[in-house]
């Protein structure tokens, strides 16, 4: 039986999926990892000071970094609170 195009495509997609899954474990090495539990509390306490809570699944992990730093500037968060919140959102994503 010959390898037809459909099998080739399926094989390639499977391999690509595996490869991307492997790369997905590699996250940006900044900011320093925060505390998940403290991040959940800081997220609940601080975000609603101005706006409705945003779901962790709305953005990619890297987008939560920029968003977290933007909100740090806007909301007067400390660096540690920001790292905790980013960790919480990334791990909940």
């Amino acid at each position: 039986m010959k390898l037809n195009n459909k099998n080739l495509i399926l094989s390639s997609l499977a391999a690509l999926g595996l490869a991307l899954s492997a790369s997905a474990a590699i996250a940006a090495d900044y900011p320093e990892k925060g505390n998940f539990v403290k991040g959940a509390k800081a997220w609940a306490d601080n975000c609603v000071r101005c706006h409705n809570l945003r779901d962790a699944k709305e953005l990619r992990d890297d987008q939560w970094i920029t968003t977290g730093f933007h909100m740090r500037v806007r909301g007067g968060l400390t660096g540690q609170e920001t790292r905790d919140i980013i960790t919480f959102l990334q791990q909940s994503n």
Binding site: M1, K2, L3, N7, L8, L10, S11, S12, A14, A15, L16, L18, A19, L20, A22, S23, A24, I26, A27, A28, D29, Y30, P31, E32, D45, N46, V48, R49, C50, H51, N52, L53, R54, D55, E58, D62, Q63, I65, T66, T67, F69, H70, R72, V73, R74, G75, G76, L77, T78, G79, Q80, E81
Partner: protein, 406 residues
């Protein structure tokens, strides 16, 4: 790193071929094709890995709103509103610096497109408690302008009188700002202090009652408190806000600005004479702002109060003396999220006092919001507007707005 990837992809290739070739025979052309696919796959994986490991991140956030307005002003038609698109660009290098820029793009009444720079700053993350915000920034005076004005955050379809681009509260400025947060025991605090170009002032020539070509007096018309690209009057201001949260659900903020500002232009067309007193050499006036804001929330309620007063001291233009003048505004707002529903009811009262009686406004606004999602909100609001001065009229409005934050 490539040493770890290559064996990995050899294994992937073997797995893929094993899965796809349960029996032995295949054509040489198919093998060549597969090799090409794998080579492409390696590149894709490399690209994906670069994306995830990059030192620079780019992200576009922002908000947009569209709507409809109906009013009882006979001189104005009801209208659909093209709304506003406000993209916010973030470009960040690791955890050291972030560039932030927000544009506000809208369609004017004549169909032209209006683009305005809301802010553009380079934020230097100095340490855990301090960030230098340099460039054009939203005024940190009070809470509404810097944090609550985006349409998907503002719980009503309009800003309270005096808090928009129209009044007592400073809007934006250009300068250097230090801001951040810190803990005081179990309490939390945040701060912002800045030095900036500050505002400029407009004056109005009031004509004589019986002769519009004769000058009766010159008075302050308004404060232009949106950022100027260059400091036209050379006078700087200093200001800031300090906020404290005794408990996480309660924030109390106080704000101030102090400095000088100068009359740089005239406003108004009531005076029709040709003699315009020169503004060259006009002495700068003192400029002071004081503000206070309080917010409290629980699971269903969100309560806010904010007060701002701006004062410009006396000066002279030619033979005409301009007296100390102040603008003040405040609002109180209660929002109630109806439990187990996506509905939210909002009530706001605001009182804007201007030196010009025709601009005074007392507003009661009620609104009902439907939260399609937490960042996509359909709003219905009714403004009851009154001018307390005899002979003056303020018109009521009904507004519908769809606001989306992204």
């Amino acid at each position: 790193m490539s040493k770890t990837i290559k064996p990995f992809h050899k294994a992937l290739l073997a797995a893929a071929i094993s899965a796809a070739l349960p029996i032995t025979g295949f054509a040489a052309t198919d093998l060549e094709l597969l090799k090409q696919e794998v080579a492409q796959l390696k590149n894709d994986v490399k690209d994906a890995k670069e994306w995830r490991n990059q030192n620079s991140l780019m992200h576009m956030a922002g908000y947009a709103n569209v709507g409809y307005v109906s009013n009882d002003n006979p001189a104005m038609e009801d209208s659909f509103l093209g709304g506003t698109f406000a993209p916010i660009f973030h470009y960040q290098f690791r955890d050291q610096v972030m560039l932030e820029a927000e544009l506000e793009i809208s369609t004017a009444e004549d169909g032209s497109t209006v683009v305005a720079m809301e802010y553009l700053s380079i934020d230097w993350i100095i340490n855990d408690n301090m960030i230098l915000v340099a460039g054009q920034f939203l005024s940190p005076i009070g809470n509404f302008r810097q944090n609550l004005h985006p349409s998907w955050i503002n719980k009503l379809p309009s800003a309270a009188p005096g808090f928009g681009h129209d009044g007592a509260a400073p809007v934006s400025d250009i300068g250097f700002q230090l801001r951040g947060g810190f803990h005081i025991g179990d309490m939390k605090a945040n701060y912002a202090v800045y030095a900036s170009n500050g505002p400029e002032i407009k004056a109005e020539i009031a004509p004589d009652a019986g002769d519009s070509t004769a000058i009766d007096e010159i008075e302050y018309d308004g404060i232009e408190a949106e950022a100027f690209g260059a400091d036209g009057d050379g006078e700087k201001v200093f200001g800031g806000r300090f906020g404290i949260l005794p408990i996480p659900s309660l924030e109390i903020g106080v704000s101030f600005v102090s400095g000088k500002a100068t009359v740089t232009s005239y406003e108004g067309d009531e005076y029709t004479g040709t003699t315009i007193p020169s503004l060259d050499g006009v002495a700068a006036s003192t400029y002071d702002v004081a503000g206070m804001d309080v917010s409290w929330r629980n699971k269903s309620f969100d309560v806010r109060y904010e007060y701002i007063k701006s004062e410009v001291g006396e000066t002279s233009i030619g033979a005409y003396d301009l007296a100390t003048t102040e603008w003040s505004t405040w609002y109180g707002q209660v929002a109630y999220k109806i439990p187990s529903t996506k509905f939210e009811a909002v009530l706001r009262y605001a009182d804007f006092d201007s030196p010009h009686g025709s601009k005074d406004q007392q507003q009661t606004m009620v609104g009902l919001n439907y939260l399609v999602t937490n960042n996509f909100i359909a709003k219905l609001g009714f403004e009851s507007n009154d001018n307390p001065n005899a002979g003056q009229k303020a018109y009521d409005r009904t507004l519908v707005q769809l606001a989306y934050g992204f």
